[in-house]
């Protein structure tokens, strides 16, 4: 364990001149030791449950197990190069998974960011009564595990069981939550329900940390609550906004639990509806670890590329704003 950490941390020893203030030698050594000690457990975890598995998956994606056709173990592992990647990328069910994700993002990301930001600004505006109660109620769904949220909403989408459908039926409106065009918005709704309050708390915490003088200055300048919110508060917390956007995108790529449960309830969601469902299907239903690893690596690359692009774009905007 210590060898793993020291290999990552070893270059530290020569970083003597880094702090701005010249400190005593002994103090510096002690500081370095402290930094090492505090970082060591996390670094071990970083290596053991992140870098090693990812590396292992990348390695595995270049190999394939030749089965003897009967499914008995002991197939021979052979190097197949990029064959698994080609197989994944030419599989329409994998590509269509990304299509589903894209469509999902187009609905989900703006909805959750705008919704959460609006609610956080309202709570921060000082106009609210029962702020704490409201915040708690809105946060509540985040405390509901994804599986349970999906189960509850699934029941609320099921005709005969759902009071919502009954309510609409009384107004002579027929709603099919699990139809061809409604199933994706229905999934978005579950995610939105779970994520709205959580993201609101992030925004609200950022707003609470704002220097009060800035807000007061805006008010003294005659800006109303609405203008202060949009022109002063939002620009200052744009870092949080970008962060929430990024996590919403990454969360979208992770989409698994909700469609997995929907899969049991409606034929509109097949067993490879999203990339993660494809990976699960490849690994545990088709027992093709090479294929699953290749799909994992592709998803990983897409995710990293996407978040890198988002942060770069945000960074440039931030720099040009200064």
């Amino acid at each position: 364990m210590s060898t793993v950490t020291s290999s990552t941390r070893a270059p530290t020893s020569s970083a003597a001149a880094a702090p701005a203030k010249p400190l005593r030698k002994a103090g510096q050594r002690q500081q370095k030791l402290a930094a090492f000690t505090l970082l060591a457990p996390f670094t071990v975890l970083l290596v053991a449950v992140f870098l090693v598995p990812v590396g292992y998956a990348i390695g595995l994606s270049f190999f394939s197990e030749d089965h003897d056709g009967l499914g008995f173990g002991g197939g021979e592992t052979v190097f197949t190069g990029l064959r698994s990647y080609l197989a994944v990328l030419s599989d329409p069910s994998f590509v269509s998974g990304f299509g589903a994700i894209l469509l999902y993002c187009v609905i989900f990301v703006p909805a959750v960011v705008v919704g959460a930001l609006a609610l956080a600004l309202l709570l921060d505006s000082g106009l609210m009564r029962l702020r704490r109660t409201a915040q708690m109620l809105l946060y509540l769904p985040h405390a509901v595990p994804g599986v349970i949220a999906a189960v509850i909403w699934l029941y609320l989408y099921t005709p005969g069981l759902s009071p919502v459908i009954k309510l609409f039926a009384q107004a002579d409106i027929t709603i099919d939550f699990l139809g061809l065009h409604t199933v994706l918005p229905s999934i978005v709704n579950i995610a939105l329900w779970s994520g709205l309050g959580y993201n609101m708390v992030i925004f609200y915490a950022a707003l609470q940390a704002l220097p009060r003088e800035v807000i007061e200055a805006a008010r003294i300048d005659g800006a109303g609550g609405f203008r202060t919110a949009l022109m002063v508060k939002v620009p200052i917390i744009r870092g949080s906004v970008v962060m929430v956007c990024m996590f919403a995108l990454i969360g979208a790529l992770q989409l698994f639990t909700e469609p997995m449960l929907m899969n049991q309830a409606t034929p509109m969601v097949n067993s490879r509806f999203t990339p993660n469902m494809y990976i699960f299907d490849a690994a545990f239903r088709r027992n093709n670890y090479g294929l699953a690893s290749a799909a994992s690596v592709i998803l990983l690359v897409v995710t990293c590329a996407l978040s890198y692009a988002v942060t770069r774009w945000a960074g440039r905007r931030e720099r040009s704003a200064r």
Binding site: A15, A18, G27, Q30, K32, A34, A35, L38, L39, F42, T43, L45, L46, V49, F50, P53, V54, A57, L119, L122, L123, S125, L127, R129, R131, T133, L138, L140, P141, H142, A143, V144, P145, G146, I148, V151, I152, Y155, L156, P163, L196, A209, R212, E216, R219, A223, G224, I250, Q254, F256, T257, N276, I279, F280, A283, F284, S293, L299, L300, T303
Partner: protein
């Protein structure tokens, strides 16, 4: 869920940090107040709907669940549902509950301590390749858990710990988002002057961390803990991949299997409903009891 309402009756309009809330800043203050409250009320109703349904449905037996009226309390079988829940499959639900508590509470405690320490080190100390290592942390934040689950399974099966407690417990300790958060919070909560003063007093670095900084980071620690607790409690994909022994399941996975069985044997439906209700309780309790603590920390934490 209904029990939480009485716990927060005194939401006074004064902000904790002396916010000048009562100041008039517009002629249409009354209407904007009305609109603002209405919008938040609608959002709150939207969040409450499924939970209220869960609460009502938990009082129904299997027949009444699929019967006509969810609002009627004529067929009240909450207690019999409850005893059925803990009796089913040899008390499996109780085991799941304990497992979830173990994974989540212990995991979040250990995990947040690891994350906060790392975040603090990133904030307060200079060392070579610091930003490169932090970039790795950020990459860790960006990588979907589910993408890691399959590789983790492959590694775990390689070293033979698949289908054990550790196969789930060790990976959930890794919380790069906690490190990211802790770095920001450490920057806000622990002024560098305090460290300088402590150094002048001759205290060791780790001594300072444990005695001074960690205490100042308390609210931040709770925030990280709470986020991680929620994440582990809600964790589903990793246990699903790692575990095949039902006695090691956490609640989410257990309820998922019961829900899958319910399509064949409907007697599981009311159990899934009431089991879900009970599974939701600890996090709500944690959030309510810790809310005051970390929220006052967030507002009072503006050190500037």
């Amino acid at each position: 869920m209904t029990t939480m309402t009485p716990t927060t009756p005194r939401a006074t309009p004064q902000g904790p940090a002396g916010k000048p809330l009562g100041r008039p800043f517009g002629s249409s203050k009354l209407t904007s107040r009305g609109v603002a409250n209405a919008v938040v009320l609608i959002a709150a109703l939207y969040t409450m709907l499924p939970t209220v349904w869960l609460l009502l449905a938990s009082t129904k037996n299997a027949d009444a669940l699929f019967g006509s009226d969810i609002l009627s309390l004529s067929d009240f079988s909450f207690v019999s549902n409850l005893s059925d829940l803990f009796a089913m499959d040899g008390g499996l639900y109780g085991e799941w509950y304990l497992n979830s508590l173990l994974y989540a509470v212990v995991g979040a405690l250990v995990g947040s301590l690891i994350s906060v320490s790392a975040g603090y080190a990133f904030d307060k100390y200079e060392f070579r390749h610091k930003e490169k290592l932090f970039g790795l942390v950020l990459t860790g934040v960006m990588v979907p858990q589910t993408v890691l689950a399959l590789p983790l399974y492959l590694v775990a099966s390689g070293i033979g710990i698949v289908n054990t407690f550790w196969a789930v417990f060790i990976p959930v300790l890794f919380n790069p988002f906690g490190v990211y958060l802790a770095r920001i919070l450490s920057n806000g909560y622990v002024p560098n002057e305090v460290l300088e003063a402590s150094r002048v007093d001759g205290a060791g670095e780790l001594q300072t961390y444990v005695r001074v900084s960690l205490r100042m980071l308390g609210p931040g620690f709770v925030t990280v803990f709470l986020f991680q607790l929620t994440a582990i409690w809600n964790n589903f994909f990793l246990p699903m991949v790692m575990l095949s022994d039902q006695h090691l399941y956490p609640l989410s996975l257990g309820l998922y299997t019961w829900n899958s069985s319910a399509t064949v044997s409907p007697e599981y439906y009311p159990l899934v409903v009431i089991g879900s209700l009970l599974a939701v309780v600890p996090l709500i309790v944690a959030f309510i009891t810790l809310q005051r603590y970390w929220k006052s920390g967030l507002t009072a934490g503006s050190v500037k």
